[in-house]
Symmetry: none
Subunit: 219 residues, 4 copies
DNA sequence: CATGAATGAGTGTTCATTCAT
DNA sequence: AATGAATGAACACTCATTCAT
């Protein structure tokens, strides 16, 4: 299943267009934005950390906001990658044997993605409420497509009887909350804890599938 | 169970110490901070919205950061309220007949709290990563106490056989993720949706207890 | 005829609304703008010359351009003053016995005005080509009204036979060119020359009335 | 009389030394300087409009000010051309039969010159007050020589009785004001008006010779 | 020759904070 | 207590100029 993750390729192909100075600037900006927040970050500090003159930043990025969007935009696209349908030969493409496999793949994969793009994701989450452009882009280009895809998968497994017949939005919310809850704990709240990822993922999947009561659902 | 919620009392007793101008300032600051973010908020705008002179803000709050902390601090305390043990006469105080009742009470109660303190919570979440003082205060005074209390409750119901014998931290994470996931969806992501809160809370509790597979846990 | 010149009153009444710092700022701005030109003038230099902090300028004038317009606007109004009709009791108001008297009054008066507002006029002339707002304001509020008034006067004296029957626009252009030509020479090009104003004004009026040939017009 | 106008030759001979890129740069600089003013013009915009790299400008012109002077300098020289004495065989050279002919030739000729060099003249007038080098060059090389020549002509016609016996500087000022007044109106203030140049020139000359009163000079 | 990336001093402007009234 | 005028450091951004390629 690895072959479907094209984010690295996208990233690399994009990086090819960047000069070393641009890369320094982006790295420094990610660092400073994630550490201080966009509004409190000074372009002078970014320049200093990147080892370039302040004017150089504005050669490549017309404004500070441009710099922000240049960091977040591509990452948002790459967030989307694993949810892009490979709809070849007209068949519905749900390449998972069961829901657990889907969850496991998703968690492992997005955990890795989040690990690699941790600071950018932090910036993204912090700034979405204040940047209407970002919010809109996120809602239209990312969220809706991811949801659409996941709805499809959930309904596929509902039909197969692996997922209970309750409202799909609620099932989604519950599933996603559990996954994101794990990722946040793992990376943000307790990053220094000595995690056994495989076991934790199994636990998370177990909770999502069977809850915490240990009894069959009464419905 | 209402008698345990002392947050309003705390709030009122605190408010009694405040002059009308202070209240205006706090209200305006909450408005502006939550709308623009702390760093991008101008004290002049807060003053204008509060209907006071710029200098007046600094009479009550030494710095802008002081103003921020004065908003968030008390709210953090009130977040804690329902988790405070009323450990009178030495008995362990777990005033819930079963885990579901606890969850239902918790969700209803914190949903109401979040609704009432929505903007402040937004500020809190936004600023915690950038204000070490806040982070520390939150970790030491709030999070640890809440967790301690919830651990107690979870283990109580584990002992009663209502909750399965898996690692408590994982159970906590899972439970809390599901609850917070609901709250975020309800208030932040889709606030305008026409929610049937009672049904959604039932669904959420059902998921937490039994997951989404509809089958008994295989463990 | 002195009573008609209300420009000083206008100026004074306006000045009354200004704080000492504002006056310093305006004076310094006039100095620096006229010396270096608007675009090449630094607000920091204006602040320094005015003896205020740079921020103080922007307390009173939102932008540098605002400062420019605040200087030029009132002066443009005062340029207009002597041409404002005092059209009381419905009579046409041409309070001059003959054209020469009109010219003499005009030259003396506007020479004095230009002397007093020399630097501002320099700024005005320099910046009109580059500030559409100024150009428009000047054309609509000043130039058209002055011309309208002067046309009226010229045609009045045409009817009386004191001015020849040639196209009024050409007469105006010729008259105004001669007056302005004198003012520019007097104040701008050769300010240090030892001028006998009364004699020069007489000569200028003589030229306007009879040209340089010493013979009667052949028409 | 055409043979005396050497400006085109000067221009062409100078142009011969210029590479195509230099010509592009000069044209672009004239455009941008006249539109925005020297101080507000960006060399980057000039480079872009000229279709060359920013660095190329500085290969030919050491500084931005150099570029300005390179534009204005030659034009100033060409302004001088018609006033240069062709003092061959020691005779005083006043090749005009009467003063009116001189005026007519002057106006037609300088109108054409101004038309052709309109933008440069605009730059020249705008920048002379701020560029001491220009001011000095203009006063010493141009103004004094033109005046010297015109004084000569005026006194020639004074001696012939065609011009009245009043102070030559005043006669000059009056004459030049009237000519320049016409040129400014014609080209700058009302360029879009439908002018009948021949008639307007006749009127202007008539005013200069006989004024506007229609009566013989009383002197 | 010509380029254009890189510079860094300088720009207009903002804003938290102070303090005389 | 309350004001708001005044501050000046910091900010995002510009631009003439340099220089390695």
């Amino acid at each position: 299943m690895e072959e479907q993750w094209i984010e690295e390729l996208l990233a690399i192909s994009e990086d090819e267009k960047l000069t070393p100075k641009q890369i320094s600037i982006l790295q420094a900006a990610i660092e400073v934005f994630s550490e201080k927040g966009y509004a409190a970050a000074a372009t002078s500090e970014i320049a200093q950390m990147a080892g370039v003159a302040e004017g150089t930043i504005f050669r490549y990025y017309k404004t500070k906001k441009d710099l922000l969007l240049s960091i977040i935009g591509p990452t948002m696209s790459r967030m989307l990658a694993p949810f892009v349908l490979r709809n070849f030969n007209g068949l519905l493409d749900v390449p998972y044997d069961n829901f657990e496999e889907f969850l496991r793949t998703l968690i492992i994969n997005r955990l890795e993605f989040a690990r690699r793009n941790f600071k950018i994701l932090k910036i993204l989450i912090q700034e979405i409420p204040f940047q209407p452009k970002l919010k809109e882009q996120f809602a239209e280009n990312i969220l809706s497509k991811v949801l659409e895809r996941v709805v499809e998968i959930v309904e596929h497994f509902k039909a197969k009887g692996e997922v209970i017949e309750l409202p799909t939005p609620a099932i989604l919310r519950f599933t996603i909350s559990s996954v994101i809850g794990y990722l946040l704990n793992r990376l943000l709240l307790q990053p220094e804890k000595d995690w056994n990822d495989e076991e934790e993922i199994n636990l998370t999947i177990h909770f999502i599938m069977h809850g915490i009561s240990g009894a069959a659902a009464p419905i």
